[in-house]
Symmetry: C2
Subunit: 106 residues, 2 copies
Amino acid sequence: MAGFKRHVFVCLNEREAGHPRGCCKHRGSEAVFKVLKEGAAKAGLAAEVRINRAGCMEHCELGPTVVVYPEAVWYHVPSVEDAETILREHVIGGRIVEQLLMDNIA
Amino acid sequence: MAGFKRHVFVCLNEREAGHPRGCCKHRGSEAVFKVLKEGAAKAGLAAEVRINRAGCMEHCELGPTVVVYPEAVWYHVPSVEDAETILREHVIGGRIVEQLLMDNIA
């Protein structure tokens, strides 16, 4: 059957320097993607959890943006350490990380 | 609150010519993306339905790949006409298009 137990999208969109909305790429989303991608693989989850590159998801000001489906949980992931927390807690452990929810900083 | 009523990801990944798995881009995914993106905007759904660019979603052989969340419905969309069907039925109408489900061709 097509699909994954968990499908995680990381925005890697890049805008020109000085754009008023900024972009996730300039806020460090490539490093976030790398932590999640390599960490999920190391945890043996490559077949059931997909860490996916994505274009702009329209939450630029609150990026780097990560969304986890099918739960539809939106995260603001400003650092590599925060990406490691999401990897350990949500991607591997299945527990939502309240302090990184986008709705909690918006 | 962060998020969308419906979040549609279209694979736009491109591999080198002759790659054994092929890629969604060479199978026509840019045209599929355009139909969905412009169609959703024309239908007045830009704020609640997000048509999103995505990297490889690991179903290359069955592409162009489109997945709709939070329903987690996976489509094989081989033509512009099929993209128009998904736009009309699922994106606008909320009805799953059985004949284009990836599981029905796999």
